[in-house]
């Protein structure tokens, strides 16, 4: 390899690390948001005491950060790092150690094909900010995010005790039943975007640029709702958090885990939520586009790139808030109800919805704008 190849590789690695770091930060922040929002909904204050000696004593900012509980993130992270790693004697060691990694990887892989911003250079040529602008973006996402459940199943299996085992089984059953409806809820989006004459294919950048003037969330509200519901099931969030329903399964698949390995499950779950929210934003909420029917106000150059990325993050954060909000509002489904809803209601509805959208598209025949 020549020198420029090396530099190219280094830059790409740096960008990749930046994106992973942002994803992890957002996952951490959503852990904090979860605790804060949960507290607020229940009439409590949430974490607001943890502080650092020097930064915490800066007059106004330090106190604000402390009251927001931002140091709690640090405290929790350090706690997870320094706790004793106990490995129960009855576990299958190799798979036990593998499972947390398998849980956390898929969302880190899938984030590579997610367009999160736009950059317009001086000549007026726009390019999406994306790690890998591939034509099969959504396939990469579906393939890798489905791998996430293997971590859960592995954890349940390797723990070699009954509650984690049940958790693992539930996770796989739920995953099979909801992945179908999830896939069928994505198809209409690509059907519409792949109007005759467009070159969207299965990439996500095309979906975002297609939504420049109109967002799919109001073009196809029912599809968006279907996708959102299945996304809740896919990310193992309440009311579908079957795999770890602590009231009937102790802690579910991560019962036998502690210290940093548990922390990885925890952060992996939230990375999944962040990624799921970002995916919903890309597919239905217009990605980094400003508002429907308004031209993007992003200026050319770095500032525009930063602003559009920020706008994308704000949208994602709003959706993460929805995830948290729903969790602290709805009770958990019973397992048979989840299966009933998945197979007998959501799947037929998704098929009917797909057919209706097909017929509708055949009638209006949209053209590539």
């Amino acid at each position: 390899m020549t020198q420029s190849d090396w530099i190219d590789l280094l830059v790409k690695a740096g960008l990749g690390l930046t994106v992973i770091f942002s994803l992890m930060t957002m996952a951490g922040m959503s852990v904090l948001a979860e605790r804060k929002v949960c507290g607020f909904i229940q009439g409590r204050l949430g974490p607001n005491r943890t502080t650092l000696p020097l930064i915490g004593s800066i007059p106004i900012i330090g106190r604000a950060i402390t009251r927001l509980g931002l140091f709690q993130l640090l405290a929790d992270g350090i706690k997870f790092l320094f706790k004793e790693e106990t490995v129960p004697g009855h576990v299958k060691k190799f798979y036990y150690n593998l499972a947390p990694i398998v849980v956390i990887l898929p969302s880190l892989i899938a984030v590579a094909v997610l367009p999160f911003g736009t950059y317009t250079n001086a000549e007026g040529v726009t390019a999406p900010l994306i790690l890998a602008n591939v034509d099969i973006g959504i396939l990469v996402i579906l393939a890798s995010s489905s791998l996430g459940v293997y971590g859960t199943v592995l954890a349940g299996w390797a723990a070699n005790s009954k509650y984690p085992f049940l958790g693992g089984i539930r996770a796989s059953a739920q995953m099979i039943s909801y992945e179908l409806a999830l896939g069928l809820a994505i198809v209409p989006v690509f059907l519409w975007a792949n109007a005759p004459g467009s070159d969207v294919a299965l990439g996500l950048t095309g979906i975002v640029s297609f939504q420049e003037s109109h967002w799919f969330v109001y073009l196809m509200p029912f599809t968006a709702l279907l996708f959102l519901i299945t996304l809740f099931a896919e990310t193992n969030r309440a009311p579908f958090d079957m795999a770890e329903s602590e009231t009937d399964l102790v802690g579910g698949f991560h019962t036998e885990y502690g210290a940093f390995k548990f922390g990885m499950f925890f952060i992996g779950e939230y990375a999944h939520i962040v990624f799921g929210s970002a995916l919903f934003v890309v597919l239905f909420l217009g990605g980094f586009n400003f508002l429907p029917m308004l031209a993007d106000p992003w200026p050319a150059g770095i500032l525009g790139a930063v602003l559009s990325t920020l706008w994308f993050i704000i949208k994602t954060a709003a959706l993460i808030f929805l995830f948290i909000w729903v969790r602290w509002t709805l009770p958990r489904f019973r397992f048979d109800q989840v299966m009933h809803l998945g197979w007998k209601i959501l799947l037929p509805l998704a098929i009917v919805n797909l057919v209706v959208v097909m017929i509708f598209l055949a009638i209006i025949t949209p053209t590539a704008s």
Partner: protein, 175 residues
């Protein structure tokens, strides 16, 4: 009881979910019920059973006559008393006895209030302090001085021993 069949909208749960979300959203802006403890202290109701302490009457006399009823009744045996006598030349000499040592082990005390209830002299009272802490076990065995420090002087309705003394002087020892 015959239940009303669900309408189609109710069967989808969507209206219920939306209204539930509305309720939780409103709750977020409700006044928080959290009491930030060390800075804000909860109000202590009348008759609260906190730390037990000895009291003196307004004349400064220690009211305990070391009858040892509290020591006897104390369920966890937190109280230990060594009785002593009051010197002849004291103005309270007619009370005859007072504790020489009066220790309450706060680590054993269960704040049941039986000592207060059993005391015939109204000499021991449970205070409103609930936060008793120290760095060693010895530190938490409160002796007589400390207990009087905590208890202080308490209003007396009877002045039993004073009246008794006056009655003896006026020749009517039985009132």
């Amino acid at each position: 009881m015959e239940r009303k069949p669900l309408t189609l909208a109710e069967k989808t749960y969507m209206p219920q979910i939306v209204s539930g979300l509305g309720i939780t959203f409103k709750n977020m802006f409700r006044k928080k019920v959290t009491m930030e403890y060390p800075e804000v202290k909860p109000p202590i109701p009348e008759g609260y059973r906190g730390q037990p302490a000895l009291v003196k009457d307004p004349d400064g006399r220690e009211k305990c006559v070391s009858c040892q009823l509290c020591e006897f009744v104390c369920p966890p045996k937190a109280i230990s008393i060594i009785p002593g006598s009051i010197p002849e030349d004291s103005e309270h000499a007619n009370v005859e006895k007072a504790p020489e040592e009066f220790d309450i082990d706060m680590l054993r005390c269960i704040y049941c209030g039986l000592c207060e209830e059993v005391c015939p002299e109204e000499a021991i009272f449970l205070q409103d302090n609930y936060s008793i802490n120290g760095l060693s076990r010895e530190e938490l065995v409160f002796n007589k001085e400390k207990l009087y420090d905590i208890g202080g002087v308490r209003e007396d309705e009877h002045f039993k021993w004073k009246k008794k003394k006056e009655a003896e002087v006026s020749g009517n020892p039985h009132h």
